[in-house]
């Protein structure tokens, strides 16, 4: 690893560890930021690297949310009674039950969406371009409607996730727990995606984006890679959903879990704002987006959606390739796109 990278990464990690103590009032916002970055980075694998604009990743996020909470409750209490009575009024998790349930719940929240992504991917990743996008849009909406009809997970009235154990008296503990949980998820996601960026797998995803027919003609079985790529996203989206459910404390089928109208669109916007198809683009994009969005919600309350809409229009018109793409076009040499002058002779010799 280069020295400058080492400084950058250790600086970011130290900042990440210190952030909840430096800005205690923004702990929840920082937690959400970590989750948003994870969602943007994983969406970027589909939309940016593979060129398959998916509006369906929200499915895995919502699935992870419901699964994590259901397991956390179901491990110790009857799930149906919990949701019917509004949860915590009748039953109470002890400290160890809460954390055990959370750990096991997150495991399930990661694995099941991954499997679901594999199955759905096998069925629909044969679609290309707009057809794929529209199909995935349907997935999120359908999941929300279905979840809203299942009694055992609260149906339309929602699902209260287990509250933080009462035995832990420190009022900061809950916020810190969820912050560090999401921060760990962010680091794990980053390490994995960084690894992918140095692998054949990333190049294959790019090949699929740039010319899928050519990739097949060169002997790459594209379907396999498309499915695996989606499964990777689903894995991290599921975890993000699981953590988010615990943080918010209440799951609604269409407004919190399968929130394609907001979160499902936000993950696309964040990746586009920062620059699709780059490692840092989604991270920068998610951070800026979160700052803008919270700013609008605070300063322009009542007009926040209008302001957000204007922001989207500005992004699409002035930064169609995102910030990273804009920088690449301005300073291509910084991105390694240089003509090797020493070799100019070789071109002349070609006759």
């Amino acid at each position: 690893m280069k020295k400058s990278d080492l400084i950058l990464y250790s600086g970011l990690i130290i900042f990440g560890l210190a952030a909840p103590y430096l800005f205690p009032a923004f702990k929840v916002q920082l937690t959400i930021l970590c989750i948003l970055i994870v969602l943007a980075m994983t969406w970027n694998l589909q939309g940016g690297e593979m060129g398959y604009n998916s509006f369906g990743n929200i499915l895995f996020y919502g699935l992870g949310m419901y699964l994590c909470a259901s397991v956390q409750v179901g491990m110790f209490f009857p799930l149906a009674e919990w949701t019917e009575s509004g949860g915590e009024k009748t039953f109470e998790h002890t400290t160890s039950q809460f954390f055990q349930g959370m750990g096991f719940g997150l495991l399930v929240a990661a694995l099941i969406p991954t499997i679901v992504a594999g199955l759905i991917g096998y069925a629909i990743l044969g679609l290309r371009g707009h057809y794929f996008a529209i199909c995935t849009l349907g997935l999120g909406i359908a999941a929300g409607e279905i979840a809203g009809g299942i009694e055992i997970i609260g149906a339309g009235q929602g699902f209260t996730t287990p509250p933080f154990p009462k035995d832990i008296v420190n009022p900061e503990a809950r916020g810190e727990f969820f912050y560090f949980l999401s921060f760990i998820l962010l680091i794990a996601t980053f390490i994995f995606i960084k690894w992918i960026y140095g692998s054949r797998f990333k190049l294959i995803l790019n090949a699929i984006r740039d010319n899928e027919d050519k990739a097949e003609a060169m002997g790459i079985e594209t379907m396999k890679y498309k499915i695996v790529g989606w499964m990777v996203s689903a894995f991290f989206c599921g975890l993000a959903g699981g953590i988010m459910g615990g943080l918010i404390g209440y799951i609604d089928s269409t407004d919190v879990a399968f929130d394609g109208r907001e979160m499902g669109v936000f993950m696309v916007l964040m990746a586009i704002l920062g620059g699709k198809g780059t490692l840092w683009g989604p991270i920068i994009g998610a951070t800026l987006f979160h700052i803008f969005k919270e700013g609008f919600w605070t300063i322009l309350l009542g007009w926040q959606y209008v302001a957000l809409g204007v922001l989207i229009v500005v992004i699409v018109i002035y930064f169609p390739e995102g910030l990273m793409g804009w920088l690449r076009e301005k300073y291509p040499e910084r991105f390694g796109e240089v003509i090797d002058e020493k070799d100019r002779k070789a071109q002349v010799e070609l006759k």
């Binding site: 690894w195 992918i196 140095g198 692998s199 054949r200 797998f201 190049l203 294959i204 790019n206 090949a207 984006r209 740039d210 010319n211 027919d213 050519k214 990739a215 097949e216 003609a217 060169m218 002997g219 790459i220 079985e221 594209t222 890679y225 695996v228 198809g277 390694g336 796109e337 240089v338 003509i339 090797d340 002058e341 020493k342 070799d343 100019r344 070789a346 071109q347 010799e349 070609l350 006759k351």
Partner: protein, 246 residues
């Protein structure tokens, strides 16, 4: 010994009979040309051979193995590659990455799906880019190259895959005359040094006559004539249908 045996292949799209009872035999290590007027079914035949679409009837054998039912990537893995008339490269990747992704090892078992790229492969990629004269532009995005350079890149990508046989769809279309000579030299070199069998679609008569040992001529989806370049040049039917009656 023939490496590619096409027997009585027919393919129609709706009412259009693109190929009718086409038979072609390509000997291992040879360079064979495929000519014919526009719409005579040359590219359709290529598509049939590599499995882009199913054929209506007939058989296609590559290396004594029936390939007419196999999907495109599987045929490619057997060592039968094609290039495209409209260049197809990965436009947002740079030239070296285009090369790396074209290497055969790109599709190993499931366990190696996230494996890193072996470093010696980069050297091989750069050598091949040098071979087609693109070494100095190796760090540019492939989409920023000119059309002719993209053709050369596509050729280099095909070589990176180490195929047994290459189907080239108009390798010199849209390329300036000096560069065409470069391509002819390189194609002959590929054939001699790497032992890759070539089947070339070409409209440029000078190119195909100096390259091929044998030429097939298609017209209206049917086999019109076949023979040595000399025989084809003097064939009355070919002259009428394609070269132009005088």
């Amino acid at each position: 010994m023939s490496i590619l045996e096409v027997k009585n292949v027919s393919k129609s799209f709706g009412g259009v009979k693109a190929n009718e009872n086409i038979s072609i035999n390509v000997k291992q290590g040879s360079i064979v040309g495929l000519i014919g007027p526009n719409g005579s079914g040359k590219t359709t035949l290529f598509n049939s051979i590599v499995g882009t679409h199913p054929i209506d009837k007939g058989s296609i054998k590559f290396d004594n193995k029936e390939v007419s039912e196999l999907p495109v990537p599987v045929v490619a893995k057997l060592g039968l590659l094609r290039t495209f008339q409209q260049t197809r490269i990965y436009s947002k990747l740079n030239c070296v990455e285009n090369m790396l992704i074209s290497h055969k090892a790109s599709d190993q078992g499931f366990a190696k799906i996230f494996s890193k790229i072996p470093p010696d492969l980069t050297e091989r990629a750069e050598n091949l880019l040098n071979f087609v004269g693109l070494h100095q532009k190796r760090n540019l995005r492939a989409g920023d190259l000119s059309f002719g350079q993209q053709k050369l890149l596509e050729l280099a990508m095909a070589l990176m895959n180490e195929p047994k046989m290459l189907l080239l769809d108009e390798p010199t279309a849209g390329i300036n005359p000096t560069l065409i000579n470069g391509i002819i030299d390189r194609l002959i070199k590929i054939n001699k040094e790497y032992g890759i069998t070539l089947l070339v679609i070409e409209h440029n008569m000078r190119v195909i006559m100096s390259l091929a040992q044998k030429i097939f001529c298609l017209a209206h989806g049917q086999m019109l004539a076949d023979g040595t370049p000399e025989q084809i040049k003097n064939d009355k039917r070919v002259i009428d249908a394609y070269l132009g009656a005088q």
